[in-house]
Amino acid sequence: MTWDVALILSLDGLANGAIYLLAGLGLVLIFSVTRVVFVPFGDIAAFAALTLAAFETNRLPPTIAMVVALAAIALATEVGSLLRRGQAARIPMAVLTWGLLPLVPCLLAWLASRPGVPASLHVAAAVLLVVPIAPLLARVVFQPIADASSLVLLIVSLALHFLLSGLGLLFFGPEGSRTQALVSGSLSLGDGFTVSAQIVLMVASAIVLSGIFFLVFERTVAGKALRATAVNRVGARLVGIRPARTALLAYGISSVLAGLIGVLIAPVTTMYYDSGFIIGLKAFVAAIIGGLVSFPVTAIGALAVGLVESFASFYSGALKDVIVFSLLIPVLMLRSFLSRHVEEEDEEVDQ
């Protein structure tokens, strides 16, 4: 292997690692706050990518209808639970937050799907459109079973993945799409070696977003509430933090991350309705390296997964995924040696 090959592989690995990093952050955020391994994360990313592809081919993305339907179901769930608790007075507020708020991105997306809209607005509309998906799913599916065991939550989450990927097939068809590059051109690093601007954009986005993540968690009340809920749900509740609300915030942030992943990756790889799952799975390896709690270690793990994947594809293309997923074995062994095993505590938290 020569240096330039190693350099290209490293860059490719870093670009993939940047994607896994963003996905890993989303997975860890949701898991630490809600104990849900959010398998449909990758599907939401695929939805964003395919929605953008639909915009570019001047089709109305079917995602709009899905978000509207989800909002209706979430609203019905919310109104039902308010009525059961005799809090009918709060229904107008619920209509506003669950019924109307998710429709705003739908309206924007509908406007963006009309001819003559610049590409940058397409990208923004595609990201915004998928933002309500995770919070709405969480309201309908996860909030009522928030106190179930992690295993139940995992299985429900898997079921949701199959539902979403089935819907993806129905909406976007079995064929893959590529979107136009967000940025064109390339950077020259001297000696005839160039890096495509898209890769620079991917890595830069990962750096900027992780920076924002760090700031939000360290400096804002909402971030501190998220951390508090992650550390101890009962304790957080005692000091006035509502777990259900922080959970929704976590889902919302993750949905934004998924949307950004979708539009970042769509120009460099052919996205299929089920492509998101593999991205989520590799990000999960990174999240496991971070023990599903640590953001910095997850970030390092994600970059490691990206680099290992890239170099593995050079040494043995056919065994690439085997090598990536084999990373889990030593990591899990090391983790089980280092950590004290704790039984899952039965938290007595309701909404």
């Binding site: 129905l170 079995p174 893959g176 799409s177 790889t269 293309g317």
Partner: protein, 385 residues
């Protein structure tokens, strides 16, 4: 009834769910069981296969006054499901003949069921099986060797001395690689490298870099459908200037859409149907190919622009020709045996891809009339003389 079949077929295609629609029809109908990949990574091939079969059914819905009933199942691009579908078609639906499928491993799984159940099967993909052991199986596809030979002949003409290979990490990748090695040895071309990737992979940069370090004159790819576009895109991105070759698994419009304008001039072999309008007027398959296009347009309300739907049509041509020479009542063992004997004695049946002549003990029935070379130019296939 016919519109119901069409409606159901369309629903099946649109929803791409596994729906078998058995019709409560008269006992004397001939039953054809088709299993294709309507969902999963192979569906970019499977969906056209199914559409082509619907067109073929509309083109020739009955033989000697007997109606033909088509039962379509989705194998989800999974060989195990394809085998299970074949068993279900054989045992529950009691079909008289099996057809399928869009993937090579899945077709092999079906062929085994056909052999065990003593059921004739017309394959639609180029598969390699021991012909002596598979007397119930024939395929309308061109043997991979025939196609790859054409590519290697072209390489010699282009002055290529060494060729690097990248293909799927499955049976199709092996098939193309083996054919390439065999043909290249005869032509004095060196095959460098044997890189593989999975259909679901999102990047082949590593594999392509490895190939480029070997400094090949040209690159040959062994992929199919849209996932087959990946090596072309990666090679173009890495600035590879040499000729790129593909094979017939890539010939579909979605491949062209995904490859976009990035890959100009890649050469691949295909059945003549793809460029039927560019063929000389006296080309033996031109008329049938044009008929096929017309009926496909009528049935599916869309032009046929891929090679796969035409294989289905050819399978149907071979089948209906053989059915006309079959004795006995459909649904009986005698009928199946007689049908098998009729299929393996097919003579000069003109299809869209080629002219078919089957002989007992041979899986393939086409000759050099079944291949032409085409080139991608601005998102169109152009005949390479």
């Amino acid at each position: 009834m016919k519109s119901l079949i069409e409606k159901l077929a369309r629903t099946t295609l649109a929803a791409a769910v596994s729906v078998g629609f058995a019709m409560g029809a008269a006992a004397a109908d001939i039953k054809v069981g088709l299993s294709v990949s309507l969902s999963g990574p192979n569906s970019s091939l499977g969906v056209p296969y199914a559409k082509g079969m619907q067109a073929a059914l509309a083109f020739r819905p009955e033989v000697n006054g007997r109606k033909i009933q088509l039962i379509v199942l989705d194998d989800g691009s999974d060989p195990t499901t394809a085998g299970r579908n074949a068993r279900k078609l054989a045992e529950e639906d009691k079909v008289d003949v099996l057809m399928g499928t869009s993937g090579v491993p899945a077709a092999i799984a079906m062929a085994q069921v056909a052999r065990d159940a003593k059921l004739p099967m017309i394959g639609l993909t180029p598969i390699v099986l021991d012909a002596a052991d598979n007397a119930w199986f024939v395929t309308v596809a061109q043997p991979t060797q025939l196609m790859v030979d054409a590519v290697v002949e072209r390489m010699s003409k282009d002055g290529v001395k060494s060729v690097a290979y990248i293909g799927f990490s499955d049976g199709w990748g092996d098939l193309v690689y083996n054919a390439l090695v065999k043909a290249a040895a005869g032509a004095g071309i060196k095959v460098l490298g044997n890189e593989r990737y999975a259909r679901a992979d999102s990047s082949v940069t590593g594999q392509v870099l490895k190939l480029l370090t070997m400094k090949p004159d040209a690159v040959m790819t062994g992929g199919a459908g849209t996932p087959g576009a990946l090596p072309f895109l990666a090679l173009t991105e890495r600035g590879f200037k040499g000729p790129m070759y593909g094979q017939h698994g890539l010939i579909n419009p979605d491949f062209v859409r995904v490859v976009g304008t990035a890959t100009q001039g890649a050469i691949m072999p295909t059945g003549p149907v793809i460029v039927a309008e560019q063929l000389p007027a006296d080309y033996p398959t031109r008329k049938v190919a044009m008929d096929f296009r017309a009926v496909f347009q009528k049935v599916n309300n869309a032009p046929s622009s891929d090679a796969f739907s035409a294989y289905s049509f050819d399978g149907w041509m071979v089948l209906t020709d053989a059915l006309a020479r079959t004795k006995g009542e459909p649904g009986t063992t005698e009928f199946r045996t007689s049908l098998r004997d009729a299929i393996v004695t097919t003579k000069e049946v003109v299809g869209t891809h080629g002219v078919y002549n089957f002989k007992p003990g041979e899986l393939y029935g086409v000759d050099k009339r079944a291949r032409v070379l085409v080139k991608i130019e601005n998102g169109q296939w152009k005949l390479v003389p």
